[in-house]
């Protein structure tokens, strides 16, 4: 039995430009989740994420859609549009995320190498703590974590999306992870894990 390999984004895009609705739907279903999650992580608002997702795919329908396969992947192009839309939303103040002004040379947080190892972050509590920590990252660090760590976009594509060299993506990711560790460590000191709490008295 022959099984046809799934169509690539570019193949779907060509069919979409030819007016095939099925190709548009296939491309949307293939990529909408990542775009929606990216917008949701960056804005923190479901309605903004919906709007951004819709706008991104509407842009694909435009006659002057600027996607060029020579310059990057379609996925990267979609992320790029989403990012621009989000930045616009932030400038308008619709998204409650501060436009931080920290420079690339900002000092790294002190790595708490003498702390005990973190609680297992793969447990429910650890995952939630990590999610909270990501949400509080400055935008430029959050976007590399979301792209590279959560959505598994490769560094080259991420660089294309962010409009910066790959080296900048690497360094931002480095700082983002250091910040995450720092935030997790701070949270652990403020809110000890449930397992560390000592039962004093049982009320029932």
């Amino acid at each position: 039995m022959n099984v046809n390999p799934p169509e690539t984004d570019d193949e779907l895009f060509v069919r979409l430009r030819g007016g095939e609705e099925a190709a548009f739907v296939a491309l949307y279903r293939k990529r909408q989740g990542a775009i929606y999650r990216f917008a949701l992580h960056m804005s923190g608002l479901a309605n903004v994420a919906e709007d951004v997702t819709q706008e991104v795919f509407l842009a694909l329908l435009q006659d002057r859609c600027g996607y060029d396969p020579e310059r990057g992947t379609l996925s990267g192009y979609l992320y790029g549009i989403a990012r621009k839309l989000l930045l616009r939303q932030m400038e308008r103040g619709r998204v409650d995320v501060p436009l931080e002004s920290d420079s690339e040379d900002a000092a790294l947080p002190q790595l708490a190498v003498d702390d005990n190892a973190l609680e297992d972050l793969t447990h429910r509590e650890g995952i939630e703590a990590l999610h909270r920590a990501i949400r509080t990252l400055p935008r430029r660090y959050r976007e590399v974590v979301v792209l590279c760590d959560l959505e598994e976009v490769d560094y080259a594509d991420a660089a294309n999306v962010l409009g910066c060299p790959i080296g900048t993506v690497r360094s931002r990711l480095h700082r983002a992870r250091a910040l995450l560790l720092d935030k997790l460590n701070q949270e652990r000191q403020i809110r000890p894990p449930v397992s560390a709490l000592k039962v004093i008295r049982c009320l029932t």
Binding site: G33, Y36, T53, Q54, T122, I134, L150
Partner: protein
């Protein structure tokens, strides 16, 4: 690899042999490696947990509606473009209809005062008396006159007038002559035979070969 290099490369390059070797030899860096491993595992778990999050269905419905709307507009634009290339069809129809009306108006509405015909010079009127042309316009094709459909035959001694007019080439269709489709709106000169009652009886197209 020293501790500074270890810290610089741990997040960028992931865990590799050099990092492992250094962490096994350095008591200070070993916990840091564990922390990064834990962070990576946590990020992987978080990514897996969030993977199911997708845009609501109504977003897709709206986009599909937009796609269909755009496709309809595109098809409409194409049809409009095609129609623009076919502009001559309605123009031809209207020209033909107008020509027929003009001929009818000129020949039938003013039967007693036929308008003089123009040749090349405007205002030059040419009228000629044709005498004793018994039944000549019934079937005589020597002079090129063609009897008009439904026109009464000339009486043997009836005085007739011949006037020269300009008519649309489409008028040739009404007497059964073939006309090239791309030339129907052109004007051609024709001699029209008018009976004593002023009604047109026959027509001859000047310098027009019969197709």
């Amino acid at each position: 690899m020293n501790c500074r290099e270890f810290r610089e490369s741990i997040a960028e390059l992931g865990v590799n042999a050099d990092l492992l070797r250094h962490s096994s030899e350095c008591a200070e860096c070993a916990p840091l490696l564990e922390r990064y491993r834990s962070l990576e595992a946590g990020l992987g778990a978080l990514a897996a947990e969030l993977r199911h999050i997708e845009a609501p269905e109504h977003v897709e419905l709206g986009l599909v509606a937009a796609f269909r709307s755009q496709s309809r507009r595109a098809r409409g634009a194409d049809r409009h473009k095609w129609d623009r290339h076919k502009w001559w069809i309605p123009a031809l129809s209207w020209a033909t209809a107008a020509g027929v009306l003009i001929v009818a108006a000129m020949l039938l509405m003013h039967p007693h005062r036929p308008l003089p015909a123009h040749r090349s010079a405007p205002g030059s009127v040419e009228m000629a008396a044709v005498t004793d042309s018994t039944d000549v316009y019934a079937a005589d094709e020597d002079d090129g006159f063609i009897p008009l459909p439904n026109a009464r035959r000339l009486d043997p001694n009836e005085d007739v007038n011949v006037v020269r007019v300009e008519v649309p080439r489409s008028a040739m269709l009404s007497v059964g002559l073939a006309v090239s489709a791309d030339r129907v709106s052109e004007l051609v000169e024709a001699d029209v035979v008018l009976g004593a009652d002023g009604l047109a009886r026959a027509i001859r197209f000047v310098d027009e070969p019969i197709l």
